[in-house]
Structure formats: structure tokens, C-alpha cells
């Protein structure tokens, strides 16, 4: 649309941006005047990749930004760092505050990131086969994807589950399914992450009972439950109960975990879904870390000691397309969490200060068109996560936009991690981009931007209050719409989507039919005929009584009497189903309906 191009109105020198808001050194000034200016005079800058040249500012200059819309300079120098910038104060050493460069003094040399591929589909029998396949091919840990009925606390034979069983993940109805899922997998030796939120305590209880039946020691098993209900209200929307009782269930797991499963992460505070819902990188960082603040506040008001549960808090971030912005996000996250835990919550243990995180490449960035191109996108995104010091990583399948990954797509995703970890050499040196003027500038901007958001959220009275006002939801919806608008206006090139399109054949995808639903329903029917339904009822009644009580940490070292975890475990042992346990809690807590924002 060249005819719409605004006429340049700028009268001042084309190198004025070198001097705006910064103090370049004499040599940089000399460069700008004698080398840059003549170059710009001969060949003005053009928006990179935007063939139609539409991404221009009001002066008709090409606009350069990160994918989140943050302006990017053509060159970063010392002049882009604060005047008091010095290495010790702003960066520090890995394994030492403020942890900008990482939480381990030896980086990946002591332990490479865990290659943890998120997987689950159809029945527990089929998913168990995929897990064994991934472990045989060098996967380092498991990560369970549950189907929507499980995520929403319904059994496979519930009317609301129709058409959804086994589609987006594996269907788990009872302890029996969990036993099948981990059949032949030693839970004391494998770490398992479970993406489960509203019913997290139920699925975790099932995992603990399977481990117990295998003869594993709860003190030795390790893994993570996502258990992050706040981001469900903000972005992913798989919530069951209202916020207050949901938070109480989360704090129950913190309290139970710090006493009985010291190596299990009882939460993975997740920005991934916030980003997938369309937020900017900064919003992902700020809302996620502030969710962490909210959990700590709630746990403290139960009377828990921050150094008891603090070391078991973990994080989960997105790895999106904008390479440097992502690396800056991870580095800033570590610094911010350290400051919050130390200064705001007065945590004394170093373990409480450490932000450990999992990352996953950005499903939302992987288009359906020319899907093989996504292998390249995933490699770049995953590289950013590794350069940002991630503790574990999931690479998406190239067919992400079309279906759950085929076995071939899942294997290439794992191989991508292996190529980064074993071939590229980047894991040998800690934070190899540290000290880059650009990256350090972005890291500081991220940090400042996050604290600006924190002030707003504090003023609203915390995250639960902000959610009830729809604040983070609105921020994300706006960013998401702006991104889509920019993409459709060709301001941002998406290869194969708005440029470089071809006619193509659809790829082979994983197709899940309704036989899974029938299979799960038949198993449920047999289970209900086999187990003692009276015993199930007795245990669910006991759970309801605990759920209605108010938990308060006692001084004698025991967990709160009304903590729901022991009662859920009892119900699971009697083969109460996910749907039955969640229904018992629905009776006590009711359900939540959001105020929709469009």
C-alpha cells in the first residue's frame, strides 16, 4: 500500500534516535555522524520482512519492535545501560543473588535441562505405550496431558464429556487408570509433571497411591503438579470452583507436600497459557510472577512458613518467537523472584529465592500452513529457553495447529531438544549471551515493566481481586487483538501464512475417535460394580466435612486438621473416581462462572 505511506515529516537529522534519551560516547557520536548518517542517506531503513512496507511510524520511518511491540534500536552500546551499571550489582554470578545468570554455579555442566515432552491422548493404555516410547528414545521425564473431562473434573461417562473423551489428552477416571498409565514405569526413578489444575489434588493423590503401591518412598519421588488455578481464571479457563475455595485447595497441597513429599513441586506457576491467550512477553512475566506473590500471601495467611513451602514453588514459561525478548524474560524472572522472596516475604533459605522453570515452545506461533516449517520455529524458540537457563523443556510437534502430535512429530520434537543439548555447544557455557548490551537492556526493561505491573496489582488488592475485575483478562484480550490485527495488516510477516504461501497437501494427523469414550465407560461400569460403593460414600462424606472446615496450620508440626489431601487420598484408595471426588467438592464449594469479556 505505498500510496498510503505517510510522507516523512521529520525535519531533523535521520540519526536523531541515537541521541534521544541516551548519552552516546564520543566515539559512538562520531560513528553516528560519519558512518551511519551517510549510509541512511543513501539507503533508508525498511521494515524487515514486511515486503509491502506497511510497518511505518507517523514520520514514515520503518518501525522496529519485538513481537510484543517493544521498540528495538538498531545498535546497543554501553549508552543503553544505566549510568551506575556494573557487573557485580546488575548481574552477579550463577548460583548467587540476584541469579540473573542462572541458579546453578555450574550451569548445564552438572545437569543438562530435562527433556520433558508433554504427552497424553486417548486411553491410559495407549498413552502408557507413548511414554515408554519417549523414555526409550532418550526423554528424561514424563509430562501428562489430560483430556478435558479430566481437567474439568468429570468422568468419561458424564453427559458433559460427550465428544471430549481422550481428545486433548489422556482420559483418567480412577486410580485404576492411573495404574495403567504408569504400568512398568518406576516412579522413584522417573520425574513426572502433570498438567492438571482444578482437580490437581485428586490426580496427585492418585499418583501418590500408585507410587505407594509400587513400593516407592514418597520422600524420594519427584515431579510437578501444575496446580496453578490463578492462570486458569486469567487465561486457560479450566476452573471448577470459585477462586477462594480453589486457592484453599492449592494451599492444602503446599502444606501436605512440604511435610510428606519434600521433592515434589506442588505448583508450577504458569505463564505459558497467559502467553498463548495472546499476552505480550512482559504481561506473561508480570502476571505469572505476581500469581506467585498471591500464592505466597495465601499460604502465609494460613500460617505456613515461607521457607517451608517456598523451595517447592516452580514456574513455567512460554518460549516464543522473539529470541532476545524471551531470553531477557527468563533472566528478569529470576532476578525479580529473588527480590520478592527476599525483600517482600523475608525468605531466609536460599532455596526459597531460586526461580526454577520449565518452558515450552509457543503452540500459538505454529501455523497450520506448511507445518514442517514449524520444526525450524520450534528449534529457535527452544534455543532461547536453553540460553535463558531453563531447567526443563518441551518442544511442540510441528503439527500442533492441526491435532495432537503423531509419533513422528513427537520424535522430531524430542530430537530437536537433543540437537540443541548435545550438538550446538550452547549448553557448555553459562548464560553465554550475558553482557550483551541489547540483552542486558531488555532484561532491565522487563524487570522495570514487571514492577510497574506489580504496583497496579497491589493497588487492586492482589491477583484474585484483579481477576474479579477482569483486569488481566482485558489486558490480554487487547494485546491478542492488536497482534492479530498487525499480522493481518501484514505489519508482521508470518512465513507461509501472510507471505510465501503455497498450495499444499494436508499432512497425516493423529485422529482420535469415539472408541476411547466407550472403552472408558465400560471400565467405569465394571469398577463401580466391583468396588465397595458404601466405602466410597463414607470416604467422600469425610472429605466433604474436611472441605467445609477452615484449615489452620498448627504449631505441633502436623498439617491442618481440615487439610483435604489426606481425605482425597483415602477416597482414591477406595477407587472413588475423579468425577465423584470433584462432585463432592462442588457440593461444598459451588462452581464458578466468569464474566465474559470480548
Amino acid at each position: 500500500m505505498p500510496e498510503n505511506k505517510p510522507k516523512p515529516t521529520v525535519a531533523e537529522s535521520p540519526i536523531s534516535d541515537v541521541f534521544e534519551g541516551r548519552h552516546p560516547s564520543p566515539s559512538e557520536k562520531e560513528w553516528a555522524e560519519n558512518t551511519l548518517a551517510p549510509t541512511l542517506d543513501k539507503a533508508p531503513e525498511k521494515p524487515i520482512g514486511a515486503a509491502s512496507g506497511v510497518n511505518l511510524d507517523e514520520q514514515g520511518h520503518a518501525r522496529f519492535t519485538t513481537i510484543s511491540g517493544v521498540p528495538v534500536r538498531r545498535l546497543y552500546t554501553q549508552a543503553d545501560l544505566p549510568e551506575d551499571w556494573n557487573y557485580d550489582r546488575y548481574l552477579g554470578y550463577p548460583g548467587q543473588p540476584p541469579f540473573t545468570r542462572g541458579i546453578h554455579a555450574s550451569g548445564y555442566r552438572g545437569k543438562l535441562f530435562t527433556m520433558r515432552q508433554f504427552s497424553g491422548f486417548a486411553s491410559p493404555e495407549e498413552t502408557n505405550q507413548r511414554y515408554k516410547y519417549l523414555l526409550e528414545h532418550g526423554g528424561g521425564g514424563l509430562s501428562v496431558a489430560f483430556d478435558l473431562p479430566t481437567l474439568m473434573g468429570y468422568d468419561s461417562d458424564h453427559p458433559a464429556s460427550e465428544g471430549e473423551v481422550g481428545k486433548c489428552g489422556v482420559a483418567i477416571d480412577s486410580l485404576e487408570d492411573m495404574e495403567i498409565l504408569f504400568n512398568g514405569i518406576d516412579l522413584e526413578k522417573t520425574t513426572t509433571s502433570m498438567t492438571i489444575n482444578s482437580p490437581a489434588s485428586v490426580l496427585w493423590a492418585m499418583y501418590l497411591v500408585v507410587a505407594e503401591k509400587q513400593g516407592a518412598d514418597w520422600k524420594k519421588i519427584s515431579g510437578t503438579i501444575q496446580n496453578d488455578i490463578l492462570k486458569e481464571y486469567i487465561a486457560q479457563k479450566e476452573y471448577i470452583y470459585p477462586p477462594a475455595p480453589s486457592m484453599r485447595l492449592v494451599i492444602d497441597t503446599f502444606e501436605f507436600g512440604s511435610k510428606f513429599t519434600p521433592r515434589f513441586n506442588t505448583i508450577s506457576i504458569s505463564g505459558y497459557h497467559i502467553r498463548e491467550a495472546g499476552s505480550t512477553a512482559l504481561q506473561e512475566l508480570a502476571f505469572t510472577v505476581y500469581d506467585g506473590v498471591e500464592y505466597v500471601e495465601w499460604a502465609r495467611s494460613r500460617g505456613l512458613d515461607v521457607d517451608e513451602f517456598g523451595p517447592r514453588l516452580s514456574f513455567f514459561f512460554n518460549a516464543h518467537n522473539d529470541f532476545f525478548e524471551e531470553i531477557a524474560k527468563y533472566r528478569a524472572a529470576r532476578k525479580i523472584w529473588y527480590r520478592l522472596m527476599k525483600d517482600r516475604f523475608h525468605a531466609k533459605k536460599e532455596r526459597s529465592w531460586l526461580l526454577r522453570f520449565h518452558s515450552q515452545t509457543a503452540g500459538v506461533s505454529l501455523p497450520a500452513q506448511q507445518p514442517m516449517n514449524n520444526i525450524a520455529r520450534v528449534a529457535i524458540q527452544a534455543l532461547a529457553a536453553v540460553l535463558g537457563g531453563t531447567q526443563s523443556l518441551h518442544c511442540d510437534g510441528y503439527d500442533e495447529a492441526l491435532a495432537l502430535p503423531t509419533e513422528a512429530a513427537a520424535r522430531i520434537a524430542l530430537r530437536t531438544q537433543q540437537i540443541i543439548g548435545y550438538e550446538s555447544g550452547v549448553a557448555q557455557t553459562i548464560d553465554p549471551l550475558g553482557g550483551s548490551y541489547f540483552l542486558e537492556n531488555l532484561t532491565l526493561q522487563m524487570e522495570k515493566g514487571a514492577f510497574d505491573y506489580f504496583s497496579k496489582l497491589d493497588a487492586m488488592g492482589g491477583m484474585v481481586k484483579a481477576i474479579e475485575r477482569g483486569y488481566p483478562q482485558k489486558e490480554i484480550a487487547e494485546a491478542s487483538y492488536q497482534f492479530q490485527r498487525a499480522a493481518e495488516a501484514n505489519e508482521k510477516i508470518i512465513v507461509g501464512v501472510n507471505e510465501f504461501q503455497i498450495e499444499e497437501e494436508p499432512p497425516h494427523i493423529l485422529y482420535i475417535d469415539e472408541t476411547v469414550a466407550k472403552h472408558q465407560s465400560a471400565k467405569l461400569k465394571a469398577l463401580r460394580a466391583r468396588r465397595s460403593n458404601e466405602e466410597v460414600k463414607r470416604r467422600l462424606d469425610a472429605l466433604k466435612k474436611a472441605a467445609a472446615g477452615t484449615p489452620q496450620a498448627s504449631s505441633n508440626g502436623n498439617i491442618s486438621q481440615a487439610n483435604t489431601m489426606p481425605y482425597i487420598i483415602d477416597a482414591v484408595r477406595a477407587y472413588a473416581t475423579v468425577g465423584e471426588i470433584c462432585e463432592a467438592l462442588r457440593e461444598v464449594y459451588g462452581t464458578y462462572t466468569e464474566v465474559s469479556i470480548t
Partner: protein
């Protein structure tokens, strides 16, 4: 469709899935294109969707489904529209719909299926080109 009447669209999110980014972006794009948009919010049953469509007297229903439950949900919506004698409403489905299911959905009356990567503008154009004036409103 007379020009002076605004096109009324019900954007609905059936099933258990909570991924509403697409539904919200489309709702806003249609609104920006001058249409009257009613968004149902999450977890609507086919009955709730059709009741809302009748009450709001819409010309178009857009169903956003990403979870794979379309083969269970869409036929029920289409049946209910017939039962309520409002099957002149233009029904569109957007989301993750495998190619192999597209024909079956079209056969039962879905006007168009918009798969990942569809431009917002092409949805606007499709609605403008295919929307029908609403007939005599159903009794009551």
C-alpha cells in the same frame, strides 16, 4: 439483507474447552466490521446456544471448537435449529477441525468451516456474502 439492518451474530463456545482467544478475537473483528455480536461465554450446551440464537434473533451463529468435540456438538446444534424452525440461520464453525470431518459437517448444513490461519477479514466477507434475511420469527 437490507443494508440498514445490522447483521446479528452469536459467537458461541460449546464444549468443555476454555481456549477462547479465537472466539474473542473474531467477536471483536465482527464488531469492528459493524456487526452486532453476542458472545455466549464458555461451556454452552447446544440447547443453550440455540435458545440464545432464537432469543437474540441472530442471522449467524459462529461456533468455536478446538477440542475435537465438533462431531458430537455440531449435529445437535443443527437438529435443534430445525426443531425451532430457525435453520435459516447461517452456521459457521471455526477452530481445529480435521479435513476428514469437513464434508460431514457441511452435509448437515454448516455453511463454512474456518480452519487455523483463516484471516479475520475473509470471515467478515463470507458472512456479508452469505447471510440471509431472517424470516418470520418463530412463534412466541
Amino acid at each position: 439483507m437490507p443494508n440498514e439492518a445490522k447483521i446479528r451474530v452469536l459467537v458461541a463456545k460449546p464444549g468443555l474447552d476454555g481456549h477462547d482467544r479465537g472466539a474473542k478475537v473474531i467477536a471483536r473483528a465482527l464488531r469492528d466490521a459493524g456487526m452486532e455480536v453476542i458472545y455466549t461465554g464458555l461451556r454452552q450446551t447446544p440447547e443453550m446456544i440455540v435458545n440464545a440464537a432464537v432469543q437474540e434473533d441472530v442471522n449467524v451463529i459462529g461456533l468455536s471448537i478446538l477440542s475435537g468435540a465438533h462431531n458430537a456438538i455440531v449435529p445437535r446444534v443443527m437438529d435443534l435449529l430445525k426443531q425451532h424452525h430457525v435453520d435459516d440461520i447461517l452456521v459457521l464453525v471455526g477452530g481445529i477441525i480435521p479435513d476428514q470431518d469437513v464434508d460431514a459437517l457441511k452435509k448437515i448444513g454448516v455453511a463454512a468451516i474456518f480452519q487455523p490461519g483463516t484471516a479475520m477479514d475473509s470471515i467478515v466477507q463470507f458472512i456479508r456474502a452469505n447471510v440471509k434475511p431472517r424470516g418470520v420469527p418463530a412463534a412466541g
